[in-house]
Subunit: 289 residues, 2 copies
Amino acid sequence: MNMLIQVQDNVLCRYGITRVLENGNSMEKAAVNVSIIHGHLSEARAKAMSSRGRNVEVGSEYFAGALSIVFHPCNPYVPTFRSDVRYFEVKDFGWFGGGADLTPNYLDEDDARYFHTFLKEICDKFDPDFYQRSKSACDSYFYLPARKEHRGIGGIFFDDLESFTVDDHKSENSIMVKEKYKSERAQVFEFVCQLAKGFLPSYLPIVKRKRDLPYGDRERQWQLLRRGRYLEFNLLYDRGVKFGLDGGRIESIMVSAPPLIAWKYNVVPEIGSPEAQMIETLSCPRIWV
Amino acid sequence: MNMLIQVQDNVLCRYGITRVLENGNSMEKAAVNVSIIHGHLSEARAKAMSSRGRNVEVGSEYFAGALSIVFHPCNPYVPTFRSDVRYFEVKDFGWFGGGADLTPNYLDEDDARYFHTFLKEICDKFDPDFYQRSKSACDSYFYLPARKEHRGIGGIFFDDLESFTVDDHKSENSIMVKEKYKSERAQVFEFVCQLAKGFLPSYLPIVKRKRDLPYGDRERQWQLLRRGRYLEFNLLYDRGVKFGLDGGRIESIMVSAPPLIAWKYNVVPEIGSPEAQMIETLSCPRIWV
C-alpha cells in the first residue's frame, strides 16, 4: 500500500492510495488506485485538454479525483478487466469520465453478452441512449492502429459528462463521446456512483465461472502474448498514462501493467483455432446486446 | 525472416528484412532489422523533424535507411545490447545517425570500461571530440524521467551527422548532439561503416565471458523486472519507435521488445545489494574511459 501526500511544481496537493494483490489464487495481479490531485495546469496538461476542445489556460487551478481498478487473472480463460471513474474540475467547469472494459484471450460470447448487458442496464436508468454512445466510444478508444486491433471486446467509455454547464465550448476536435447534460448535478453523480458499484458484479461472475478451468502451456503462452498488446496500448496510447506521467507517481501508473508478458516475433495463429477466432473478433467491434 | 516491399499513402517504396533468433543458447532473443523507405513526409514526420530544427515541409520527398540490432541474453549477468546506424535524406540534406549502448542488470565496471573504450577508439579516429559528445548525448537520450533512471550504462548516440552541408538550419530545439561536419562525405561514411563493423566486437567478448555464469531465481526475476524498464523506454520515449509506428511494420518495430518481462509493484532492492548498486549507477551517468 502507498499513501502519499506531496507538493511539487504546479501541484498544491497530491494524495493517493494504491493497493496491489500479487500472486493470488484467482488473480495473478489486481490493483486499485485512488488518486486526488489539486494544482495548477502545466503546459502539457493544458495543451492536451485544449486539443480536446476545452478552452483552458496554463496555470488554471484544477482538481482531479479518480478511482481505477485492474484485474489480471491467472487463468488464461478469464478475461482481464479494467475500470475507472474520474472527476475533473477546472475553473467553473466540472465533468466526469469513466468506463469498464473486458480483454479476453479467448472469446466467450456468453461472457461478452453478460458483461455488456450488465453495463447497459446501469446506463439505461440514466439515459436510454447512453450505452450505445459510450459503447462506441469504448470501441474507438481501446484501439491499436499499428495492430489494426481493438484491445478487447469493449464495454463503455465516456468523458466530458458534465455535471453542470456554465458555457458552451467547442468539441469538434475530440474523438470522445461528448455528453452535455444540462441536468441536475445529483443525477449525473448518482449514475457515476451506480456504475462504480457495478464494477465488481459485472466481472466477478465471469471469474467464478472460469477460474478453475484446466489449461496448458499453449493457453498460458497465448495469454502472455496477448498481455503484450495490453501494455502496448497503455504505454503508446492511453491518455490516463500520459496524464499521470506528467508529474505523477510512476509505480501507481504502471500498476496497471500485467505481471508477466511475452513478446514473440510475428505469431500468427492457425486458421480456425480459438486464438485466430479471438484475433478476428478484435478486428471489428461487435454488437453484444 | 520477413521481406516486404509495399506501397501505401506517402510511401513510394518500403523494403525491409527482419531476422530473429528466439530461445538460443546465449540469446533468449536477438534481432537484426534492415529497413529502407522512400516516400513523401507525412504531417507527423515533418512536424517531428521540424521540432528538432529541420526546416522540412509536409510532402517533401525523403529516403531513409537503417540497420538496427538488439540482443536480449538468457543469462541475467550478460547485459542487453542495442545498436543502429541510419541515414536520412530529404531534399538537399542528408545526415547519418546511430549509436550503441549497453543495459546491464548487474553492474560490472570492467564490462563498462571495455565497451566504452572500444567505442571511443572508433570515434577518436574520426574526431577526437566525438566520443565525449556522443557519450553525453547517449546518457541524455536513454533516460526515463518518470523513473529518474538512465536506461543503462550508455555508449554513444548521435544524430544529424551531416555528410554534406547545403545550408545552415537552426538546431537550438534539439537535445541531440549536433554535428556539422563540412568534411567530405566519404569521411563521414567511413566512420559510420567502421562503427557498424564494431558492433559485434564491442559486445561479444562480454557475452563470452559471462554467458555460463551460474545464476538463480533471484537474478532471473531481477532481469525480468529490469526488462520492464527497457520496454517502458521504447514505448514511451524512443524516437525510432514513434517514427516506425507512423505507417511502419509493427512486428519489425516491436522486435526490440524483450522476450519475457515482469512488472511487480514498487520493488525496492535491499540497501547494499548488487541490485541496489545497479539502480544507483543508473541514477547518474559515470565516466568510463
